[in-house]
């Protein structure tokens, strides 16, 4: 039983890391109905900027602020160069644009900072901590607390302010939102900047774990099942989806692994997502499409 709990909690904590990446997608999806393929590239770009500054002797917090500023600049550039010219186009057009954008950002990041692998030390040891007889990763707990704070701040911003309402309005009908006096460009820049901030936090935590390198942009692939399970439009969905993916893949690895062969951790979330698609296509917390027939 204790072993089960240890695996479960370890899985849940790992799931928080997936959720962090997924939240970045949710933000942009909520504001433009677009799956932002470039989110992974943004994670890589921000982490690479941060670690490169750190290696050049810039103090930790200054490096963090500069990386954040870089993400805001990126958001401004994306709005000006990609979103504004493509306003009112179909979501698939915008999706293709973000696909291209991801290559530009990845290429730009590596042209700027080089392609070698960087180690990142956040000052939190990854030694297991004993809590009530269970061994838990100190780093995972730190990540979970960070994620919780982030989600709290985001939900205040999007549920309690008019920005939240504007965001949904812009996603539903940009033209009508415009006529309402909502400043489309500002909302877009804000959302992309916040998604960049979330990407930075995710990039630092993932980077500390895996090393800051090109493959960091592939964490996107882990966010996909999270989004399908939780729903593309809900931040709480991203959290719950992340927890489900994290817990189930670890439990499956430990308990199903010996039966059907190891290494199922890598594909199990996708099977789970597939099942969700069959039963609940909008995810647990996603907005269901309304159709009048």
């Amino acid at each position: 039983m204790e072993f089960f709990l240890e695996v479960l909690i370890g899985g849940l904590l790992a799931g928080v890391m997936y959720a962090l990446v997924a939240i970045g997608f949710v933000l942009i999806y909520k504001a433009s109905g677009v799956f932002n393929f470039a989110q992974g590239a943004m994670v890589l770009f921000s982490a690479l900027t941060f670690v490169s500054l750190l290696e050049r002797g810039v103090p930790f917090w200054l490096a963090f602020v500069i990386s954040l500023a870089a993400m805001v600049l990126l958001a401004l550039a994306v709005e000006r160069v990609v979103l504004r010219p493509l306003v009112n186009r179909s979501p698939i057009t915008l999706f293709m644009a973000t696909l291209g954008l991801s290559y530009v950002i990845e290429g730009g990041a590596q042209a700027l900072w080089g392609a070698q692998v960087h180690g990142l030390e956040l000052g939190i040891s990854d030694e297991p901590l004993e809590l009530g007889g269970m061994l838990l990763s100190q780093f995972d707990i730190f990540a979970a607390v960070t994620a919780a704070l982030l989600v709290l701040a985001l939900s205040l911003l999007f549920n309690k302010t008019r920005i939240g309402l504007s965001l949904r309005a812009v996603a539903d009908d940009p033209l009508a939102a415009l006529a309402m006096g909502i400043r489309l460009q500002r909302v877009w820049v804000l959302v992309w900047a916040v998604a960049g901030f979330v990407g930075l936090v995710a990039g630092l935590l993932w980077g500390a774990r895996l090393g800051v390198q090109f493959s960091l942009s592939l964490v996107v692939l882990k966010a996909l099942p999270v989004l399908i399970i939780g729903g593309f439009t809900s931040i709480s969905g991203a959290i719950v989806g992340g927890l489900i993916v994290g817990a189930s893949e670890k439990l499956a690895e430990v308990y199903l692994g010996p039966v059907i062969g190891g290494g199922i951790e890598n594909w199990f979330p996708y099977v789970l997502a597939l099942l969700f698609l069959l039963v609940r296509p909008a995810g647990l917390f996603g907005d269901r499409a309304i159709e009048r027939v």
């Binding site: 205040l156 911003l157 309690k160 302010t161 008019r162 920005i163 309402l165 504007s166 949904r168 309005a169 539903d172 009908d173 033209l175 009508a176 939102a177 415009l178 006529a179 309402m180 006096g181 909502i182 400043r183 907005d287 309304i290 159709e291 009048r292």
Partner: protein
């Protein structure tokens, strides 16, 4: 009614020689007319006459290449939709442009975006100016919902409502901004006689009770003649008639445009 007054009429909106073309295709050419404060003005004309384009010029969605617009005494060459909204121009759309995933109440609340004064930090923490503001916004939204008799559906997602009601919700959202000028693009399109009558009554109520100036596009001539003080007729992007309904109805050019004969 405005035309009959002896004193000089106060114009809320004046269009001077407006010209708009899309890559060489002329949508409207050299259009001038004025809308008096407090009147209901109709823009009529056959399909493709440039009515919606003109409405889009007035609220800044399109920028006219020629001419000027004066609104509330202030002349502008170009204006963004945000400027238009700030200065008190609200509108509805020909194809309903509601936020379908939101409730009726939330849709109406988006109309009040510009009426909020508190910053987002205050709103997030519910301090300072934000403290009582939520309730006030809510009250204002509820008043409009009452005014247009859509209380029973206030918490319903608008995507689930029937067409006629959606049109009314869109009107409520525009009204929530407390506009000085309300632009209605075919508010009665696709409605049956009873719904049209109801909508006409709401438009007249808005005009009389709230003092809102209205510019509307409508194809139903009966409705136009019934509720409007002033009619502007467009055909092929040009103005062919302008005046009180009785006068416009006698205009041979207007009759020709509507019957499809040419002199």
């Amino acid at each position: 009614m405005a035309q009959t007054q002896a004193t000089k009429v106060e114009h809320l909106l004046e269009l001077e020689n407006i010209g708009l073309s899309f890559k060489g295709v002329k949508a409207v050419t050299d259009i001038s007319f004025a809308v008096a404060a407090g009147e209901i003005c109709a823009l009529i004309g056959p399909n493709g006459a440039g009515k919606s384009s003109l409405l889009n010029v007035i609220n800044g969605v399109y920028q006219a290449q020629q001419g000027r617009i004066r609104f509330a005494g202030e002349g502008r060459r170009r204006m963004s939709p945000h400027d238009a909204a700030v200065r008190g121009i609200a509108r509805t759309f020909q194809n309903i442009a509601l936020f379908k995933g939101m409730s009726v109440l939330d849709n109406v609340l988006t109309g009040r975006t510009l009426k909020r004064r508190s910053s987002w930090i205050e709103q997030a923490l519910r301090i300072g100016r934000a403290a009582g503001e939520d309730d006030r916004q809510r009250e204002a939204a509820e008043r409009i919902i009452d005014f247009l008799h859509i209380q029973p559906w206030r918490d319903t997602l608008v995507g689930k409502l029937p067409y006629g009601l959606q049109k009314r919700v869109e009107l409520a959202r525009a009204l929530a901004a407390e506009p000085r000028l309300l632009l209605l693009d075919e508010p009665m399109a696709g409605m049956n006689a009873e719904e049209k009558q109801q909508m006409s009554r709401f438009i007249v109520d808005i005009n009389r009770e709230l003092g809102t100036t209205v510019v509307l596009i409508e194809h139903d001539i009966g409705v136009v003649m019934g509720i409007c003080d002033h009619v502007v007729v467009l055909d092929y992007g040009r103005k062919i008639g302008d005046g009180p309904p009785e006068e416009v109805r006698q205009n041979p050019e207007v009759i020709a445009a509507y019957l499809g004969t040419r002199h």
